[in-house]
C-alpha cells in the first residue's frame, strides 16, 4: 500500500486542510480552545506579570533517541518561559510542512507534541499549518510560542550574577546535541545516546520555591554551557570559573565528542538548566534539584568571581586555566 503523504492540497485552506486539522491536530491537542475553531483563542490569565516567548524548531533528524521535533518544540518554549521563573500556561504551534512528508510521521510528531504538552500541563491553544513545495523546507518546521505567569517578587536575569555565587547544573552535559549528531551522521556508539529533552518548569518551580535567592537561570541550548556562561559573564560583568573535575559528562557523550572532535561544553542541551545562586544556598539548592527526577545528577560546576570580568575559564584537572571563549561561526582549528 502506498504511504499517505502531505500534498499541497493540505495547505490550500480547503477541505484537505480542514480534514488534516481535525484528524491530526485537533484530535491530538484536544482542548476547549482549539475545539472552538475560532480565529484566535481567548484566554483567562491570572493577575501579575506575563512572560512570553517564541522559538522555531528545524532539527534534522526530526526523530531522534529521546524525542522528536514535536516534543522538542514543546519543551524548548516551556523552558524558555521557565528560565524567567514563569509558570507556563499556554502554547501556540505553527507548522510548515514539506510536500511529501509522511502523514504517519506527522501524526507521530504531533502526538509526541501533545503528550509533552499534557505532561507539562500546558494547553496548545492555537495553531497554524502551511504546506510548501518539495525542497522548500526540510520535512517539517515547527514554531511554538508560549505565555506564562511570573510569580510576584521574582527577579531573575543574566545580569544578576555576583562574585561569590556558584554555578549549578541539573545533570549531564551535551546529551541532546550528541544524540542528534550521532543519529544524523550515522555514527554508532556502544549504547544509544539519548537526548535530554524535557520540560524544566516543574523543577524550576521547586527550586525557586525553596531558594528564592536564585539570581540567574539559563538553559544552555545552542552553543552549550560555554556559550551560555559567556553571555552571563558579559551581562553581569563578572568572571566565571568552571571546574573540569566537577563537570557531569556521560562516558558515551564524552567518547562521541572525542571521536567527532567536538567539545561537550559547546554542545546543545534541551533539558538542562544553569542556575547561579549565592554560595550560602548552594547546598539547599542542590538538595532540591537532586530530589527531582530531572535533577538527580545535579552538581556544583563553577563559581563566579570578580577576576577577569566577561571571561569564562576552565580550571583543568592539572591546575591549568583554559579560556572558554564565545566562538563565532563554525569551529575552525586555531592551531597553525
Amino acid at each position: 500500500m502506498k504511504e499517505r503523504t502531505i500534498t499541497l492540497d493540505h495547505g490550500s485552506g480547503g477541505r484537505a486542510t480542514h480534514e488534516l486539522v481535525r484528524e491530526v491536530f485537533a484530535r491530538a491537542f484536544d482542548n476547549a480552545f482549539l475545539g472552538q475553531m475560532n480565529d484566535s483563542a481567548v484566554l483567562q490569565v491570572p493577575a501579575g506579570r506575563i512572560a512570553m516567548s517564541t522559538d522555531s524548531y528545524v532539527v534534522d533528524p526530526v526523530v531522534f533517541p529521546g524525542g522528536n521535533i514535536g516534543s522538542l518544540a514543546v519543551h524548548g518554549t516551556i523552558n524558555d518561559l521557565a528560565m524567567s521563573g514563569a509558570r507556563p500556561l499556554y502554547l501556540t504551534a505553527g507548522f510548515v510542512l514539506e510536500e511529501g512528508l509522511s502523514l504517519a510521521l506527522l501524526e507521530e510528531i504531533v502526538e509526541a507534541m501533545a503528550r509533552a504538552a499534557r505532561d507539562a500541563q500546558v494547553a496548545v491553544v492555537a495553531g497554524d499549518t502551511k504546506v510548501v513545495p518539495k525542497g522548500k523546507a526540510d520535512k517539517i518546521f515547527i514554531n511554538t510560542a508560549g505565555v506564562g505567569v511570573v510569580p510576584e517578587g521574582l527577579e531573575l536575569g543574566g545580569q544578576y550574577a555576583r562574585p561569590g555565587d556558584v554555578v549549578l547544573i541539573n545533570g549531564t552535559i551535551g546529551d541532546h546535541g550528541m544524540a542528534i549528531l550521532c543519529t544524523r551522521e550515522g555514527i554508532a556508539m556502544e549504547g544509544e545516546i539519548q537526548s535530554d529533552s524535557a520540560a524544566l518548569h516543574d523543577l524550576v518551580a521547586e527550586l525557586l520555591e525553596a531558594c528564592p535567592q536564585v539570581r540567574v537561570l539559563r538553559d544552555p541550548t545552542r552553543g552549550g554551557v560555554a556559550t551560555t556562561l559567556n553571555e552571563i559573564a558579559r551581562q553581569s560583568e563578572v568572571g566565571i570559573r568552571l571546574f573540569e573535575e566537577a563537570l557531569p559528562i556521560r562516558d558515551d557523550v564524552a567518547g562521541a565528542c572525542e571521536l567527532l572532535g567536538l567539545d561537550p561544553l559547546y554542545v546543545a542541551n534541551e533539558g538542562k538548566v544553569l542556575a547561579i545562586v549565592p554560595r550560602s544556598v548552594a547546598e539547599k539548592a542542590l538538595d532540591v534539584l537532586r530530589g527531582h527526577p530531572l535533577g538527580r545528577d545535579a552538581r556544583l560546576i563553577g563559581e563566579v568571581t570578580d577576576r577577569d570580568p566577561g571571561r569564562v575559564v576552565l580550571c583543568t584537572r592539572i591546575g591549568g586555566h583554559r579560556l572558554l571563549d564565545m566562538l563565532r561561526g563554525e569551529q575552525l582549528p586555531r592551531i597553525c
Binding site: G186, G261, L323, R334, C336
Partner: protein
C-alpha cells in the same frame, strides 16, 4: 680642507644610534679618543650617543673608522651620522652626564651571557666577587628582563632595592672601569643573593651554601627549580634516567624533548655533531638552545644523556651556561649536563615570581633555588637551528629581544598582535620593528595576561602610541578578539600567509613585489577555508593568491591536527573515496575499527571536516602513513619525526601541477599515492621520508618557476612553520638559487607563527601609506 679652513685640523659631531647606552659605549669612545690624543666630549642623549671630537684630520678619520669596529660587544650601531663643525680648539675629553629629555628613542639591550672577564673573576679566590652568583659588567648581565621603564638607569630596574656599596659605586662611577654605569652592578656586600627552600618553604641553605647544596641534590637525582634570568628552570641531572623520567611525569610532559645545558662545548661535541656555524651560535653571547644532530655513538668520556631527555629523537637541544649562577652549578659538580627546562606546567608561561613558583612548581620540584633580584619581564630561552650555515630561529626570546628588526624606512607606529600559537606581538617606532619575546599559545589565562603585559610594557618602554592595530583574519584567535575590543584605534585584518611572507620581506629589507611560498600548518584563508600551502604574489599591503596545495579534509578539525592518523585516513579517503575501505583495508586496519569507521563516516558526510590546503597536514598524513606518528603530544611532532627519520635517498614522489580556473594547484594526490605504494611494499620510513621530502621540494620549485614565467618575478620569499624543516628548506632554497632566483629566508625571526606579528606591522605600515 675643513670647513673652518684651518689646515690639517678637523672637528666633527657624531650621532650614533642603536644599542649604545648601558653597554659601555661611552668609555670605549673615551678610550679611543684618548689613545688618538683627540679632544672632545661624549654623552648619552635621547637618540643614542652624541660625540664631538677635534684634532688632526688624519686621526679624526682614524677615530671614525675604528669606532664602529671597536664598539663594545653589546653595542649595536644602527646608524652613525657625521656632521662637520667649524674647528675650534677644545681641551681634554669629557664624559658628560646623560641627557634626560626628548623622546625615548634609545634602544634597550637584551640580556647577555656572562663575559670571560666576569667568569674569570667569578672563580678567582682573590676577587671580591669570588663565587658571587650575580657578577656582571657593562659587557654582560641582565638587561631587558629587569627593566621596568626607561631611561635605562638602576632606579628603573628591579635592582632598585639594592643600593650599591662604596666599592661598587666607585666602579660604577669610574669611566675607565669595566663596570662604569653597569646598572645591575652588585657584589656580596650589596647585591642580590640566593637561598634554597624545600617545597614546604623551609630555608635549607643560604648564599654559597645554597649553591653547593643544590649541586648535591641534583647529583642525587633530585629536581631543582632554579630561578634564572627570564624565569624559572626545572633542573635535573641529564644522565639520570630515573630522575628525568620523574620530571616528565611530574611536569606532565610526555615526549617533547628537553633541552640540555652542558658544562662545556667539548662535552656538547661528545654528544652531538657541531658545525662551525653551530659552534658560533652556541658560544654567542645570546647563548640560545641550538638544535644539533646527535652522534649515533657518543664519544667516550662525554656526559651521558638519559633516553627520556629526548625520546626517539635524533636531535638534541643543547646550550651552555649563560649566567654566573649556571657556571656555579657546574663548578666541581659530579654531573656535566643538566636538563634545564622551562619552569611551568605543560602549556603555561614560564614562572617568574617566587610565590607562583612555590605554588605552581610545588608538585614538581624537590627544592627551590631562589634569588631576590626580581624578574620583571618573562623571557624563555631562545631556540635556533643552523640552516645552510645561517641561523634559523625557532623561538626568539632571551638574548635576542628587544633588539629590533631594522626596517627599510621609517614609518608610523603600528601594533601587530600576532597569531594564536607561539604568539608574539610587534610594535614599530621609526625604522625599528620591536618583535616581542615568545609569549606562548593564547589558550589559557596566564598566557593571555602575559600577552597583555607584553603589549603594555613595549608601549611604555618605547613610549609610542600605535596608529593602527593589525590582527589575523581568524575571528576566534584571542589576539583578534583582543584587537577588536580596542575600539579607540583603527584596525586592519591581514591574512595569515600574507603576514608570513610580509615578515620575510620586512626582515630582509625587501622592497617591491615578491613571490611568496608559505608552507605552513593552518591559517584562516580569505575564502573561509583553511590555507597552509600557498603561493602568493605579495607587494606590501597587497597580495594575490596565485597557487595552492590541493586540499585534504581535516576530520575532527583540531582533533585531526592532534591525531595525524586522521590525516592518513583523510588521505586514503581522498585517494579512493567510497572504495577506501576495500582498497586500503591493509593500511586502515592499523587503527581501531570503530574509530576509523567514524572518521570515514565523517569524511563521507563532510561532518566537522574542514578542507585545508595545508602543507603541515600533508606532513602529518605522510608521517602517519609511514608508521611514524599517529598521535602527537606536542605541536609539530609528526612532521619533526618525519624529518628526523629521513635516510638519504635520491627517489622523489611526483606531485602534479594543474591550473584550475585562475589558480595553480600543486596536486599532492599522486605523491600520496606513491607514498601509500611504498608503504605497502614495506619500504623503510626513512626512505619514504626522503622521497616525500624530495618530491615535495621539486614540486614547489617547479611551481615557483611557472609563476616566474607568469609574473616575471624572480624574487621568492619563504615562510611558514614547515621551513623549520632544514632538509626541505635547504633543498628548496638551493634549487631556487640554482635556477637564478633571489631567495629570501628568515634569519632573525622564526618562520613559524612567531613571525606573524612582524608581517602584520609591515603590511599595516604599507597600508597606511596607501591612504595618504
Amino acid at each position: 680642507m675643513n670647513p673652518s679652513g684651518e689646515r690639517g685640523l678637523r672637528r666633527v659631531r657624531v650621532q650614533v644610534d642603536g644599542i649604545v647606552q648601558g653597554v659601555g659605549f661611552r668609555p670605549t669612545v673615551y678610550q679611543l679618543a684618548r689613545s688618538l690624543d683627540l679632544a672632545g666630549r661624549v654623552r648619552n642623549d635621547s637618540e643614542g650617543v652624541e660625540i664631538e671630537v677635534a684634532g688632526p684630520e688624519d686621526r679624526v678619520a682614524e677615530f671614525l673608522r675604528r669606532l664602529p669596529r671597536e664598539a663594545p660587544p653589546l653595542a649595536k650601531i644602527v646608524r652613525m651620522d657625521v656632521e662637520e663643525r667649524p674647528y675650534s680648539p677644545v681641551d681634554g675629553f669629557l664624559i658628560q652626564a646623560s641627557e634626560r629629555t626628548g623622546s625615548r628613542t634609545t634602544l634597550i639591550s637584551p640580556d647577555v651571557s656572562i663575559c670571560d672577564d666576569c667568569l674569570r673573576e667569578l672563580f678567582d679566590p682573590h676577587d671580591r666577587r669570588f663565587r658571587y652568583p650575580f657578577i656582571n659588567c657593562t659587557n654582560c648581565g641582565p638587561r631587558y628582563t629587569i627593566i621596568r621603564d626607561i631611561p635605562y638607569d638602576r632606579d628603573k630596574t628591579t635592582m632598585v632595592s639594592f643600593p650599591m656599596c662604596p666599592a661598587c659605586r666607585a666602579e660604577y662611577e669610574n669611566p675607565r672601569d669595566r663596570r662604569f654605569h653597569a646598572q645591575p652592578n652588585a657584589c656580596w656586600e650589596c647585591g642580590p643573593t640566593v637561598w634554597l627552600e624545600d617545597p614546604e618553604g623551609r630555608r635549607l641553605a643560604e648564599r654559597d651554601a645554597a649553591v653547593r647544596e643544590t649541586i648535591r641534590l641534583l647529583s642525587e637525582g633530585k629536581i631543582a627549580a632554579v630561578k634564572g634570568l627570564g624565569g624559572f628552570h626545572l633542573a635535573v641531572a641529564a644522565g639520570d634516567e630515573e630522575a628525568v623520567a620523574r620530571l616528565r611525569r611530574r611536569k606532565i610532559r610526555e615526549e617533547k624533548p628537553f633541552a640540555v645545558m652542558f658544562s662545556s662545548l667539548e662535552d656538547i661535541r661528545g654528544v652531538c655533531r657541531v658545525s662551525p656555524e653551530e659552534e658560533a651560535l652556541l658560544m654567542s653571547r645570546e647563548r640560545p638552545i641550538v638544535l644539533l644532530a646527535r652522534r649515533p655513538e657518543p664519544k667516550p668520556g662525554c656526559p651521558p644523556v638519559a633516553p627520556s631527555v629526548a625520546p626517539g629523537n635524533r636531535f638534541l637541544g643543547a646550550f651552555l651556561p649563560y649566567t654566573p649562577l649556571h657556571a656555579l652549578l657546574f663548578r666541581d659538580a659530579p654531573y656535566r649536563a643538566l636538563v634545564m627546562t622551562s619552569g611551568n606546567q605543560s602549556d603555561e608561561p614560564i614562572v617568574t615570581e617566587d610565590q607562583t613558583a612555590r605554588e605552581r612548581l610545588r608538585g614538581i620540584a624537590d627544592a627551590f633555588l631562589f634569588h631576590n633580584r626580581d624578574i620583571y619581564i618573562r623571557c624563555d630561552d631562545s631556540v635556533v637551528r643552523s640552516a645552510r650555515g645561517k641561523p634559523r630561529p625557532i623561538r626568539r626570546a632571551r638574548g635576542y629581544v628587544p633588539v629590533p628588526v631594522v626596517l627599510r624606512e621609517p614609518g608610523p607606529t603600528v601594533l601587530g598582535v600576532g597569531g594564536e600559537l607561539k604568539n608574539t606581538v610587534c610594535l614599530t617606532r621609526g625604522r625599528y620593528a620591536f618583535l616581542s619575546q615568545h609569549v606562548g599559545d593564547l589558550e589559557n589565562l596566564e598566557t593571555l595576561r602575559a600577552f597583555e603585559h607584553t603589549i603594555d610594557h613595549l608601549k611604555r618602554i618605547l613610549e609610542v602610541r600605535p596608529e593602527l592595530i593589525v590582527h589575523d583574519l581568524h575571528l576566534d584567535y584571542l589576539s583578534t578578539q583582543w584587537a577588536e575590543a580596542r575600539t579607540d584605534l583603527p584596525r586592519l585584518a591581514v591574512q595569515h600567509h600574507h603576514a608570513h611572507i610580509a615578515s620575510v620581506a620586512a626582515e630582509r629589507g625587501w622592497n617591491g613585489p615578491v613571490l611568496g611560498v608559505a608552507l605552513d600548518g593552518t591559517g584562516y584563508g580569505a575564502d573561509g577555508t583553511l590555507w597552509g600551502g600557498e603561493f602568493l604574489w605579495v607587494d606590501g599591503a597587497r597580495y594575490e593568491r596565485l597557487g595552492r596545495f590541493s586540499r585534504l579534509p581535516l576530520p575532527g578539525g583540531e582533533k585531526a591536527i592532534k591525531e595525524p592518523w586522521r590525516m592518513a585516513v583523510a588521505a586514503l579517503w581522498s585517494l579512493a573515496g567510497e572504495e577506501a575501505e576495500r582498497v586500503h583495508d591493509d593500511i586502515l586496519s592499523r587503527w581501531p575499527e570503530r574509530q576509523r569507521r567514524v572518521v570515514l563516516r565523517m569524511l563521507q558526510k563532510g561532518f566537522n571536516s574542514p578542507l585545508s590546503s595545508s602543507c603541515g597536514r600533508l606532513f602529518d598524513a605522510v608521517s602517519s602513513l609511514a608508521g611514524l606518528r599517529d598521535r602527537i603530544t606536542y605541536e609539530g611532532q609528526a612532521a619533526v619525526e618525519l624529518e628526523q627519520a629521513l635516510e638519504p635517498d635520491s627517489g622523489a614522489y611526483e606531485a602534479r601541477l594543474v591550473k584550475e580556473e585562475d589558480l595553480w594547484v600543486l596536486d599532492t594526490l599522486p605523491l600520496l599515492e606513491e607514498t601509500v605504494r611504498d608503504v605497502r611494499r614495506g619500504v623503510r620510513p626513512g626512505l619514504v621520508s626522503a622521497r616525500f621530502h624530495n618530491g615535495l621540494a621539486r614540486a614547489v620549485v617547479r611551481m615557483v618557476e611557472i609563476l616566474r614565467e607568469e609574473t616575471g618575478l624572480s624574487a621568492v620569499a619563504l615562510s611558514g612553520g614547515v621551513f623549520q624543516n632544514v632538509y626541505l628548506s635547504g633543498k628548496v632554497e638551493q634549487e631556487l638559487e640554482d635556477r637564478g632566483f633571489e631567495v629570501l629566508v628568515h634569519q632573525e625571526v622564526p618562520p613559524n607563527d612567531a613571525c606573524i606579528a612582524l608581517g602584520q606591522v609591515h603590511v599595516g605600515r604599507e597600508y597606511l601609506k596607501t591612504l595618504t
